[in-house]
Amino acid sequence: MKVKIKVWRQKNQESKGGFKVYDSPELNSNMSFLEMLDVINEDLTDQGEEPIAFDHDCREGICGTCSLVIDGKPHGPHQGVATCQTYMRSFEDGDIITVEPFRADPFPIIKDLVVNRKPFDKIIQAGGFVTVRTGSAPDANAIPISKEVADTAMDAAACIGCGACVAACKNASAMLFVGAKVSQLNGLPQGQAEKDNRVLNMVAAMDEAGFGNCTNQYECSAVCPKLITHDFISQLNRDFVAATVRKSFKSKPSTAKL
C-alpha cells in the first residue's frame, strides 16, 4: 500500500510552521505508523531533505513518549491505543493522512511534531510523589489495602503521561492527567499524609503552566491510550474542595507561623 502524509513542518519554536505533503514508498500494511514515518524519513534523507522530527521511545505503548495528532485525533484512529501501536492496516491504500503536533500553548513545538511536555514534569514535582524513608525495602503487604482501592489506584497509575488528554481537550486542559496522578496517590494509605498539599500544589502547578479549564466534555478520556476514566477528574475536584476547606479552617502548628 501507499499513502500520502500531510505533515506539519516547523524548524524550531520561533519559526512559523506549515504543512507539507509527502508520498510514502510502497508500505507493508503491518508496519506501524511510526515505521511508516521512518521509511519516509529514509527517503527524505536520501533526497537531502531534513527528516520529519517526531517523538518515540519504547514503541510498545508503555512509555508515553510518542504523540502526534492523526487526522484530528491524538494517537490515531483507535480507542485505547498509542500512536506507536497504530498500524498501517488501519488506513486505506491511497489515503491522505494529516499529521499534526499536539497543540497547546504550555506544550511549545520544539521541532516539526515534537513538543515540549515539561509542564507535566513540573506538575509531578509539585506533588506526584510520596515522601518516604529510603533504605531497606518494607515488608510486602505490611499495610492492608482493600482490593478495590488498590485496583482503582492501579487504573489511575496506568497513565503514561503522554499528554493526549491535553491535545484532545477543546480547551487544552490537563485535568485528566492531574486527576489520574493525584487520585493514584490520594486513594492509597501511603498517600494520606500529603493528600491535601498534593492536590493543592499539583493544581497550582497545572494553573501556573497555563493549561485551559475543564468544561466536562470528556474528549480527554475518549482519546486516552490507557483509557483513564474522567471519574478521576471528578475525584480531583472533590479532593480539591475538601483540601481547600480543611486548609482554611484547620489550626496550624506553631512552627508554621515562624
Binding site: 484532545a168 477543546k170 480547551n171 479549564n213 475518549a222
Partner: protein, 251 residues
C-alpha cells in the same frame, strides 16, 4: 490559600463558582416556572401570587440582589474561563475532531449569551414594563378588594403576539439546551459525578431539560391557541384607558 482566593484564582475554583451559581439559577428558574404555571388556574390565583411576591418588600430585594450576584458571577467566570481556554491553544488544529463532546457542551457560551439577552428583554417586558407601558394599566381586584397588577392579563396580552411568543419559545429552548449540559456538568465540577451513576445523571439531565422546555412552551402555546384567554372586554378596557391617557395633555 483561603476559600475565596481558591474559588476566584484557581481553575477548579472558577468551575465550582460556575456550578454553584448555575445550581442557584436552576433552582430559581424551576420555581419561576412553577409560579407561572398558575396561569392555567383562575386569574385570581397568579395575580394574588404576584401580589404576595411584590409584598415581600426588602426580602424581595435581597432575593433579587442575590440572583443578580449569581448571574453576574456566572457570566464573569464564563468570560474568564473562555479567555483562558482560548489562550491555552492559540493555534488550533487543521483537522477538527470531536468524539463524545455533546453539541450542547460545545455551544455553552453561545446559548449562555443568548439567554442573557433574553433575560434582559424579559425583565424589560414583564418586570420594568418598558417595552409595553400599557401593562401598567392592567389591574385586577382581588377577592379581598385589593387592587393589584393583572399579571394574568399581561401574560395573555404579551403572548397574543406571535413574534413575542416565538422569541420566548426560542429562548427557553436555548436555556433548556444550556441546561442539558449544564445540569450534569455541575455535578462533575463539584466532584459528585462518577461512572457508577453517570449514565443515570445524563438521562436525568436530558429529561429535566425537556420537561423544563415543555412547561415553558405550553404557556405561550396555550395563549396563541386560545386555550388561555380573557374576555375581550378586559383587554379593550386597557386599550381605552391608555388612549384616553395619551389624549389628555396631563397624562
Amino acid at each position: 490559600m483561603n476559600i475565596v482566593t481558591a474559588l476566584l484564582k484557581t481553575s477548579i475554583g472558577k468551575k465550582i463558582i460556575m456550578a454553584l451559581t448555575g445550581a442557584v439559577l436552576i433552582g430559581f428558574i424551576i420555581g419561576h416556572l412553577v409560579g407561572n404555571l398558575q396561569i392555567f388556574s383562575d386569574p385570581e390565583k397568579i395575580n394574588a401570587y404576584a401580589h404576595f411576591l411584590q409584598g415581600l418588600g426588602p426580602a424581595l430585594w435581597l432575593i433579587r440582589l442575590f440572583l443578580l450576584l449569581c448571574v453576574g458571577l456566572h457570566i464573569w467566570m464564563a468570560v474568564l474561563l473562555w479567555c483562558e481556554n482560548k489562550k491555552a491553544r492559540s493555534q488550533s488544529y487543521t483537522a477538527s475532531h470531536t468524539i463524545q463532546a455533546s453539541y450542547a457542551s460545545r455551544t455553552m457560551k453561545y446559548s449562555g449569551f443568548i439567554v442573557l439577552a433574553f433575560i434582559l428583554y424579559h425583565l424589560a417586558h414583564f418586570t420594568v414594563k418598558a417595552t409595553n407601558p400599557e401593562y401598567n394599566e392592567m389591574m385586577w381586584t382581588l377577592a379581598d378588594g385589593t387592587v393589584v397588577p393583572d399579571v394574568h392579563l399581561m401574560m395573555v396580552a404579551g403572548f397574543s403576539s406571535l413574534t413575542v411568543s416565538l422569541f420566548y419559545l426560542i429562548s427557553v429552548g436555548l436555556l433548556s439546551f444550556h441546561l442539558s449540559h449544564g445540569f450534569q456538568s455541575m455535578f462533575q465540577s463539584v466532584g459528585l459525578r462518577t461512572e457508577t451513576w453517570g449514565r443515570a445523571l445524563k438521562v436525568i439531565s436530558i429529561v429535566l431539560s425537556l420537561a423544563y422546555f415543555a412547561g415553558n412552551a405550553v404557556i405561550p402555546l396555550s395563549v396563541l391557541t386560545g386555550k388561555v384567554s380573557r374576555p375581550d372586554s378586559s383587554i379593550e378596557a386597557v386599550a381605552e384607558s391608555v388612549s384616553s391617557h395619551l389624549n389628555t395633555p396631563s397624562g
